[in-house]
Symmetry: C4
Subunit: 269 residues, 4 copies
Amino acid sequence: MNYIAVRGRMFALLDPERGGRKGRAVDFFIMGLIFLSILSIILETVAPIRQQYGLWFDRLEVFTVAVFTIEYILRIWTITAKEGYSSVRGRLRYMTSYHMVIDLLAVLPFFIGGFVDLRFLRVVRIFRIIRVFKLARYSKSLQTMGYVLRKKKPDLIISTIATGILLVLASSAIYFIEGPVQPEEFSSIPASFWWGVVTMTTVGYGDVTPVTTAGRIIGSLVAFLGIGLFALPASILASGFIEEATQEEKPRPYVYCPHCGEELPNKSR
Amino acid sequence: MNYIAVRGRMFALLDPERGGRKGRAVDFFIMGLIFLSILSIILETVAPIRQQYGLWFDRLEVFTVAVFTIEYILRIWTITAKEGYSSVRGRLRYMTSYHMVIDLLAVLPFFIGGFVDLRFLRVVRIFRIIRVFKLARYSKSLQTMGYVLRKKKPDLIISTIATGILLVLASSAIYFIEGPVQPEEFSSIPASFWWGVVTMTTVGYGDVTPVTTAGRIIGSLVAFLGIGLFALPASILASGFIEEATQEEKPRPYVYCPHCGEELPNKSR
Amino acid sequence: MNYIAVRGRMFALLDPERGGRKGRAVDFFIMGLIFLSILSIILETVAPIRQQYGLWFDRLEVFTVAVFTIEYILRIWTITAKEGYSSVRGRLRYMTSYHMVIDLLAVLPFFIGGFVDLRFLRVVRIFRIIRVFKLARYSKSLQTMGYVLRKKKPDLIISTIATGILLVLASSAIYFIEGPVQPEEFSSIPASFWWGVVTMTTVGYGDVTPVTTAGRIIGSLVAFLGIGLFALPASILASGFIEEATQEEKPRPYVYCPHCGEELPNKSR
Amino acid sequence: MNYIAVRGRMFALLDPERGGRKGRAVDFFIMGLIFLSILSIILETVAPIRQQYGLWFDRLEVFTVAVFTIEYILRIWTITAKEGYSSVRGRLRYMTSYHMVIDLLAVLPFFIGGFVDLRFLRVVRIFRIIRVFKLARYSKSLQTMGYVLRKKKPDLIISTIATGILLVLASSAIYFIEGPVQPEEFSSIPASFWWGVVTMTTVGYGDVTPVTTAGRIIGSLVAFLGIGLFALPASILASGFIEEATQEEKPRPYVYCPHCGEELPNKSR
């Protein structure tokens, strides 16, 4: 077996859509390892568990990083087998892609050491779990969602901008009104953003609340506008999903001549 | 009256759809007893009520368990009258069905005794209330809901998984940021899950809140994503209900030939 | 002018749809008085305002009750002019109708006196504001809403029952888990209902929160189910409004024969 | 170049739809300055930033006001170039238009001086950001939203009135019930409005909560009605967006005769 064939086979093995049964096994193994790794990162933060099973966490860490590093190197090596990535520039382009940067950041902290906080980046790998859907029947749902979100992007962007404008206005108003009374909680407009977000999203922790009458009137307005904040994206997405569903179920209708049986041009759509 | 006839009559009596007027009376009696039993379980936990009417609660308990036990035994005895359940295996299959396990669990704590906490299981009997819908005109609504939920299952599962991924990311991020400042509230990632859920669902108790600027920025993002958490299932279900309603109201259209008056094959749907 | 004519004119004057310009003036006068009365009831509860303008509130009270009493008596007197209410039984039937009972309850506290708390009933008069819609173009919107609510009643009832079942289960579970740890907050299942409602509706005051791990897991489940609590009625109503809108805009389609020009029977709907 | 030509060119430069490349440059410059100005207003409230960069904020302030004043004067001068605004009355009408009043209020505080609180008005200038949409492809989305909001105005007004009525009833009820127990929090009906809003919108700060059983029952009802408060506008807007989308996508269908190929009058719509 020559170099090209080995590389091609390796590439197919790492590609969830081409690897066949073996490829899927590799994929599930890496998925499982990501799950296990994230679970260990989560559990490791619990003091009693860390004290008792610390050694096992370290061993899993070494094993995980080893597998992920090998996977990373293999991916960079074999990518030249893919159409459009055959040159050195293609390989560089691949290395700077979103997935590969995440993959690098997932193992880098181990080699650099010391920067324990960067471990959080490994948690971001959880997004790769979505890959599992590529194999399953959920792919159609994901496509529909993606399609709806893309189609309704301008509407959703306008909702977001409107939300941002309201947030700035609400926070400025509450700062000017409540600032003098509660100088610690509403010390500045940026500090008041926290209150604005907590009220607009109707989370309402209660750690920062208006106490003056004027402040409470502003707060009431913001809370009611928060309802619109829920209603707008919900109704936009609903209309998107319904349009999508309607289009799926109503295929182009063909009309046949009742006499000769030939298809007639249907201009109604 | 021979054995088969008695068993068949008994079976019909316990079946809400076959029992006729008498069967419905039996059904309503058991429904009422379930309601009464649940009400007594709820009220029994109120100390002053328990002290004053404790004896009556105990008497109702004995009566309820007696009736439910008789009902349970009768159901197992008569099930063989149903098509497909005539053999011993059929009876065993029936005994391990969802409804029968609940029915057994509802009376078991009384006989085992001592394990007072198991009484909670009787509350689960409330699910038997759903049976009441079989009798009423609400059955169509329930069918529609069930149909919509089943049809939109993949979409709802993806929403749930996305929620789970966001929860892990949010809790990890807040742990890394707020953990050093509030070591008691954000002692570990699993402990931070509580904050994540309370914020994403916009419940916002306020028992655990971020105090650092970075933590509040994370909190704001999570709160806004919580809006999407509401918008997605609402819009998915809305599209499901509308598709369902549209299909109901638009029956297959028939097209008639304008010349001979005969029905033409309509390929448009 | 004889008795019948006076009564008929009076009746028309009090009926918003028959009174013409004068009738509308009477209607707006009573509407305005209701508004003013409610405003005074609200403001009267503010101590400094009551101390300063107490006399004026009392005077407005006497005037309001006088007008409402006269209106009430006139309505009962003139109702016999309406078709189907001409007999004494018709008058009694009218007196026990929803609107007339409210009207009576709105003035009764003044005559009974002493029972100041009954004044709250006057606030209920605010519902009479809805009458204003009869005059305006908003009537169609109200009709649509009423139609949608009536059409989706079974679905909404099932949502409510499901909510009730979940509330009982959630409160029972949290009582059994958190009760031993927080015996004051979760003293009984009925006491735990408060926590259940506050969490399911995502209000989340934070006055009662679970502190144990098991309690927080239950709390998380309830909070997520609270999202469904929002999504279900929203999507049910959305489908209702859309069905209604679709039916309005798509009148029964007529199909014409392309040859003779005669209308063909359209069985597609 | 004569006066008319200069004025016309100036007018076109300030009009986002006529100015061409130069006009768009002017527009983006003013947009940027608005953004920068708002950002400086926000950051200026942070004490450490103000102390260090105070001088720069003041300089930006002078520059911003200078540009906005020149823009304001130019707009008033050149408006007479627009059809229907050529007279002095047209100029006065323009000066009292929404946008021009905002523009005046945005620079006025600087000239009046002393009244620092009026600076808040500059934040209102953020509304001018909406102008940016005129340039972008988002205009269609904004038009659709505006159309939907206008079409569903009666429904939304009724929702708002219903919300107001419920708020008055809820606040009155809680005042009568909780007032005697918590005289500070529920001192009057207007004071109880705050609790009503916080509960109905499901914000739930927890600064004011009912403690009596009756108060908690009222609170539970209000919280559940709060769900309807979300469901109504969401479903109304959803139906509006869907109607809009349906009308866009379904153009008038044309039906052709299967024999002669001529278009037939379609009365189905």
